[in-house]
């Protein structure tokens, strides 16, 4: 029973990490249809923001809290710049976008290597996040609880923005029918940039969270980018709900399989399951009913 509970928590915490890294992508890839291979490097930018901040603010707790909004702005600005410089010229050519952003991702990695050095850097986690809470024989790692909370908070925030704000209405309008939105007086270019800003900013937030569990290095983004795309594709393009369910489902599946087999086997089985699922439901878990999105 202990094992089951411990593993369930593990699965949920893996799911929270997946959700956090995929959340930004549900906007840029899911809503806008831009395949941004440099998304992982925005995660890296968020992580390095934490690192730089911690060098100037010695308190690990304060620097982590400041890092969250700051990383959002840094990564968001990088995303908006990328959109303005390159991606908006390539909206009609998705495969070119893929190659261009892949190139950008390699350049950003090299840039990080030149600025921060090739070796990984480290940040100190606040003491409160390095411990754990035990309930009976079940242990909940505090950093995992923090990430879970952060992921849910981000989902909540994003949902509120998309549902209830004028900006959210405009974003949804552009996604559902760009031409109609444009003739209704929505500045679609501007909406694109803001959407891209938010999506990339969320990657930055994910980067801050990942400093608590993983390495911070120039290539850290590549560790996560494939998983992020998987979550969005399986969840269904353009659907927040789908991404949330998929992230947690994949997390639990992964942890159950890892426990009963090995990590490598679990990865293979999860991929096979995803391929099989997409054969059955190529549109993903949830779809937005429009005429153009696949």
């Amino acid at each position: 029973m202990t094992v089951v509970l411990n593993q369930s928590f593990t699965g949920i915490s893996i799911g929270a990490v997946l959700l956090l890294i995929a959340l930004g992508l549900t906007l840029t890839f899911g809503q806008m249809g831009v395949i941004n291979m440099a998304h992982g490097e925005f995660i890296m930018a968020g992580a390095y923001t934490t690192y730089v901040l911690q060098k100037s603010i010695s308190s690990a707790g304060v620097s982590l809290l400041v890092a969250l909004p700051l990383a959002f702005l840094v990564a968001g600005a990088m995303g908006a710049l990328l959109e303005w410089l390159l991606i908006r010229r390539l909206y009609t050519r998705p495969l070119d976008t893929l190659l261009v952003t892949w190139g950008v991702s390699l350049m950003l990695q090299q840039l990080a290597r030149d600025v921060f050095g090739a070796p990984n850097v480290q940040t100190a986690a606040p003491d409160i996040l390095t411990g754990n809470i035990s309930a009976g024989s079940v242990t909940f790692a505090n950093n995992r609880l923090f990430i879970l909370g952060l992921a849910l908070l981000c989902v909540l925030g994003l949902t509120l923005i998309l549902r209830f704000t004028p900006l959210g209405r405009r974003i949804r309008a552009v996604v559902q029918n760009r031409d109609l939105a444009e003739v209704s007086g929505i500045a679609t270019g501007q909406v694109d940039r803001i959407t891209f800003f938010i999506g990339s900013g969320l990657a930055g937030v994910a980067g801050v969270a990942l400093t608590l569990v993983g390495p911070i290095g120039p290539t850290m983004g590549t560790n996560y980018i494939v998983d992020a795309f998987l979550v969005v594709v399986v969840g269904g393009i353009g659907q927040l709900k789908g991404a949330v369910i998929t992230a947690f489902a994949l997390g639990v599946l992964q942890s159950v399989l890892e426990y009963s087999t090995t990590v490598s086997v679990a990865k293979v089985v999860v991929l096979v399951a995803i391929v099989a699922f997409l054969q059955w439901r190529p549109q993903g878990l949830y779809t937005l009913r429009t005429r153009s999105l696949a």
Partner: protein, 417 residues
Amino acid sequence: MSGLSISRRGLLAGISAAGATAALSACGAKTGSDTSSGSAAKADTSGSTVKVGLLNSLSGTMAISEVTVHNSLLLAIKEINASGGVLGKKLKPISQDGASDWPTFAEKAEALITDDKVAATFGCWTSASRKAVKPVFERYKSLLFYPVQYEGLEESPYIFYIGATTNQQIVPALDYLKKQGLTKLYLVGSDYVFPRTANKIIKAYAKAKGLTVVGEDYAPLGSTEFSTIVNKVKGAGADAVFNTLNGDSNVAFFKEYKSAGLTAKSLPVLSVSIAEEEVKSIGTQYLDGQLTAWNYYETTPGAANKKFVAAYQAAYGKDKPTSDPMEAAYISVYLWKAMVEKAGSFDVAKVKAASDGIVFDAPEGTVTVDGATQHVYKTARIGKVGSDGLIEEVWNSGKPIKPDPYLKGYSWASGLS
């Protein structure tokens, strides 16, 4: 609106195309041209300088480790040149970037041998890169000096193995654990040749010497999700964890280990791929008190090491640590120099013949070259990570251990290889 539409098939095709490009470039790097195969490449030693090749990953995922090895090689070459060179000739280092890509290593090795006509090559880190260049050096009958501890079971006539083989690192580490009464081991490693081979040896040892392996887990290289593995470790009732993870995975593993409430006191981890540089990048607070197995630490006593550490930090920065593979790289150039001088020639066959019994006062202590295996006698050292990020030795083998890459001298290992 059609502009935004994108089909899933198109996306997957695009992503797999990107993957295929990488794979293709891998296939494209065929080693060896037909015309020159079989013939020994003649090193060019006619001028007043002699070229030596440095083959390290200066970019890509392995750059983190290999750049430091490259630095120590350059340091050794600089020192040798300052004291008059080798046989009166100055050394001219030719650096090639292996780019963390194994076929590229083979390609660059060939360029060093046939275009630059180097007298010897120093470098490679991963076993995969060494396996990729091995046929190249054997075909051209040129020498490679390999500076990293590895999984053993190899004796190429054209490679000198300056890092530890298994009986100089893993076997002494097991002896140490056994002596400490830590008899129930959990094996955690990255999923590739070194950890799998190492664990095969550990299991054979355990069976013969009454240790128990209570669990064994592998994570793909680069994996950063260790919550399940740590859960399994925690529930397995082990006395110690034997860690053969490599690279970034260590960071995620030790962060998870700490947040699960495990410490060096409650369940010690002995690692064979974590040196001073890695301690720095993982974070000392996650490694405090954990064990490592190497042949050299920055803190190893002796005048030779004091001199090496001072020279390295003067050249590359006060805060730069020195580590075992860096030290092995550093001494590899000196060992080659000693062989050449004993042979009185740069000729590969003569250098090989002269190698047996070369003694060098290295930072790690006195090392002796074993001509038969082309390995080096090394002292095994177990260290404990301190809160200052340095590793303090807690045990050593007392004297240099004779290299035994095929573990022929160990009866329990007869079933291996």
